[in-house]
Symmetry: C2
Subunit: 215 residues, 2 copies
Amino acid sequence: MPRYTSIIADDHAIVRAGLRAALEAPGMVMPEGLEVSAETADGAETIAAVRSLKPHILFLDVQMPLAGGTEIALETRRWSPATRVVVLTGISSVGKLSELVEIGVDGLFSKATSNDELYASIPKILAGTRCVSSHVLALLENAPDAAALTGRERQILNLIALGQSNKEIGAVLGISAKTVDRHRTLMMSKLGVHSVAQLVAHALKQGLLDASPEL
Amino acid sequence: MPRYTSIIADDHAIVRAGLRAALEAPGMVMPEGLEVSAETADGAETIAAVRSLKPHILFLDVQMPLAGGTEIALETRRWSPATRVVVLTGISSVGKLSELVEIGVDGLFSKATSNDELYASIPKILAGTRCVSSHVLALLENAPDAAALTGRERQILNLIALGQSNKEIGAVLGISAKTVDRHRTLMMSKLGVHSVAQLVAHALKQGLLDASPEL
DNA sequence: GCGACGATGGGGCGGATCCCCCAATCGCGG
DNA sequence: CCGCGATTGGGGGATCCGCCCCATCGTCGC
């Protein structure tokens, strides 16, 4: 009967300690016990640890320096396909969350979820069932607008958030300023906003941008 | 020899567990031991607990539902002046951090700070010395522009980020749209940006806004 | 094939922005 | 007392935004 192995990846030492304390409580998670094989604090470190240890579970924070949660999840899929990826998040970024769901992470929990909910879910995840905390689920359902943006629109939204004008964006993308304006108008209509200010605020709060404000 | 008492206030269960595990390690923090008298998960709960328990230390997260970290710190000062307020933050919001420093919290740490640094600092804080983690200190020094905004400018910045036009803001504040425009121009010059989009992006990233994007 | 939709453009119009000029009042510190 | 900055307000002009109209291409799916 092999003990289950895991890696805890989070840039916050306190969070790592809390998760470790919850997981190592004997008998609480798995009868055989769940061993924390490593703790990592950034993206590169995490990917390296996953490649060498190939744990049963990777507990992963979305906001990590050096590599984002999305990238780590994809790398894990590549180098250790059997590893269950469980994402713990403290953010409300609908964009990133739905992105993670699309990638197909095995678990998605808010850091506010109780230990009981974790205890109940981990055995299911190890067995192959995908679990999403009710907390996160409610968030995803209350904002279906994020996925409504097309690729081009998202691209333009990033440039708008940088403060570029229609003309500048057109120059960068090699299209006319008028087309940029057209995309912008459609986007605002989709998102239900009526000005660039609202658009940028909405984009940043919902996490629709690629540029993650790291640290 | 009285045991020291404390309250842990954080909306994330995992963080509470991690901090509790670190604090209750016997002999690590204070020779007499540090008791965690209560855990609270929102602002109102925290203020109530502080008023009734009057602990030696309050460990406080900045981002809390129902009441912000700033408000809780002020209420604690009012109802239990002897309580040392130690703020743990995962954010880079220069605005809120400098606000907390002005209020005069007794400790200010990033959630990424090691347990060792905490262990070393807590006795000092109980003795009355203010401690700020090197992490946070570096952040405050690298962005002096936040404090450059006046009260009125900050107020207007909030409304701009909501997507209000100059005219609407003027109506809300009871001043002319032209004055709003003047403040906006000065602000943009101070922050080194050249459009509302950049202004909103900068404000949100630097955490200059009152409206905290809760959960 | 044929419609649906994304992406690409154009014309035009009202309003808002961005930035320059100007001035007045008030409070605070040297 | 006098300057300095915060706050208030106005005029004007170049530019850009916000939103209508219109059109042409592809690329999907049915």
